[in-house]
Symmetry: C2
Subunit: 354 residues, 2 copies
DNA sequence: TTGTAAGCGTTATCAG
DNA sequence: CTGATAACGCTTACAA
């Protein structure tokens, strides 16, 4: 590996001049610049990032901490981060699947000194509060944070609104007994979706019923389980809202295995709008979450603070969700999008079936 | 940020001693070690990675270059990489979605000096040859590389065997007219799967027919298109093999929209075994690809070479695939796994339906 | 067992 | 415009 010294010697200039060329300094004549460039490329010289960041105290990298990398949602978030970071010429250091707070904090320390900012998904209260100290001395953007986040910069999804819109939509077809397959207990998305579900019910004069809320953990398998649990009730619900699409898929699969038709016998709604949802049979009515934008916005939020490495100014941005009408909810709207049934509730809006 | 000097001063020792403590050197008394540890943690000291790697010439990071981050396959690969890297206390620097060779090479240079090894997915010939030079001076493992790779270390998927096994399986039900929805032209996985398809046909005395091979690009939409193209033939094929599951999903969706039943009217097979395949209606017969293992193996291969930064010794590892029997192929095996129809062909094996 | 000091490859601050 | 030279925070002979 050629160093700046090699280039300087070979080009007959000082290392300072070579450095200036690579830092786009105007303090260098066009001739020298050109000459240095040629020598450098002949020697295959590339500035050493470590040395650079040692003196500038900037790494040009952002860290990304995720609870897990599993499934389409996370991969879309990373994609948004990756592309936005690249546009700003930043590198992305990822670390995922942190089982507990300890390994999470270990990951944070190992990144320290190597990054100029951190994007952390902290979907439960424990994680959020563990990261709290760090958010006070370093640029951090929290994705989908738990409730302990007043003084941090956060970016979340309109979970409540999405769930609310979904339930109201189901009700618009006359469904009165709407069940829910919940997400993991500590998970903030799951909690907010549940809250949206309950509020929608109450707003229409129905008291949420515990036996209609069955547990789940965001996996297909738990959606399948959840359906089976619900079918054991003496009175079958006429609609089920799953807290994410993966569970909705398991749910539909279980209903089919039990000889029930969706949506004729039972309507189903999901959450996330993963890519394959529209190809399911029946196509899944769901709430679209723009994970790509979530990642992209996070980068855009953090970028201005990477220079000073001062904490990101506390503020809370919400990425809207969209109700996507397809056939699993029994919606006739899926065929006639102009129907009067439409009801908007910001920031969750409805869209044509994709 | 506290530096090693702060700790040394505060603890009343030299910076060398502090350094030794952090490098697990035996040349330091237990008392001093303990004392330094305490002072360090009080000052919230964390060694600066840049300074460290400047002198040691090791970054403890590996770079990951992917063509795109889209979909379950890539996210699983990254997951495998991430976990294996963490176990070895390595960081992971990702960069994906490189439209062309130029942006790819730009990503490679921007990583130089920041990584001790590179895992690059180079699913087409252009990418593979662009990376070629680099593989001769640096530890690189190529994932699913194109044909120009004799002297590199590579890790690939048993695409050919998987496709071969799938086609032979379909034939075992008497299908004679088996169509294929292909993947992108330049993509090596797509090419190998196509080759496996054709070879299986020829091995059973059938000459592959161009009109039965329709183009696709690995997206659901192209699977849908592909089905429509095939249905325009005067003689409908009795089975279709899609080069990946996403296309198979689009395919099934199109067949259903055309009033055809799967597998009764037409059998369908996919490739990848993405998580939701078993929840489709009908559950999809496919070829399982262990993307997680692919990522994990790549890290394990490269790790021994990160110390010296010498090129990885050329060798070619193949991750096996498994035929997964479900209902979309009309397999009665899916119910009776012990049937005589089973036929094994290493390294692709069959498994019970999940 | 501990300390001293010479780098690692850059950038930044001066002088010229 | 260009060149010396002192940092940056750390590891590692070598000395003590």
């Amino acid at each position: 590996m050629a160093t700046i010294r090699d280039v300087a010697r070979e080009a007959g200039v000082s290392i300072a001049t070579v450095s200036r060329v690579y830092n786009e300094s105007p303090l260098v004549s066009d001739d020298t610049r050109e000459h240095v460039r040629q020598v450098a490329s002949r020697l295959d010289y590339i500035p050493n990032g470590a040395a650079r960041s040692l003196i500038t105290n900037r790494t040009h990298a952002i860290g990304v901490l995720l609870p897990d990398l599993y499934g389409e949602f996370f991969s879309e978030v990373i994609r948004g981060i990756d592309l936005a970071a690249r546009r700003a010429r930043f590198q992305v250091l990822v670390s995922s699947s942190h089982a507990d707070t300890d390994t999470l904090m270990a990951a944070v320390s190992s990144m320290r000194g190597r990054i100029d900012g951190l994007i952390a998904m902290a979907p439960d209260e424990k994680t959020t509060s563990a990261l709290r100290d760090f958010t006070r001395k370093f640029p951090v953007v929290l994705l989908n944070p738990g409730p302990v986040q007043a003084e941090c910069a956060t970016l979340s999804i309109a979970n409540f609104d999405g769930a609310y819109a979904m339930v109201r939509h189901l009700q618009s077809f006359g469904h009165r007994s709407i069940a829910m397959v919940k997400g993991p207990d500590g998970n903030i998305d799951a909690q907010e979706r549940l809250r949206g579900y309950r509020t929608a019910l109450r707003d229409s004069g129905i008291e949420p019923e515990p036996s209609l809320e069955v547990p789940g953990d965001f996996t297909e398998a738990s959606g399948y389980e959840g359906a089976m649990t619900l079918l054991q009730r003496q009175l079958r619900p006429t609609a089920v809202f799953a807290a994410n699409d993966y569970m909705a898929i398991g749910l539909v699969s279980a209903l089919r295995d039990s000889g029930l038709r969706v949506p004729d016998d039972i309507a189903v709604g999901g959450f996330d709008d993963i890519a394959i949802s529209k190809y399911l049979s029946p196509p899944l009515t769901t709430v679209r979450v723009d994970a790509y934008t979530l990642g992209e916005r996070a980068v855009l939020q953090i970028l201005p603070f990477t220079r000073t490495r001062k904490p990101v100014i506390a503020h809370h941005e919400v990425v809207p969700t969209q109700l996507v009408l397809r056939r699993s909810c029994g919606s006739t709207l899926a065929m006639a999008p102009d129907s009067l049934h439409r009801q908007r509730r910001r920031p969750t809006s409805e869209v044509e079936p994709g």
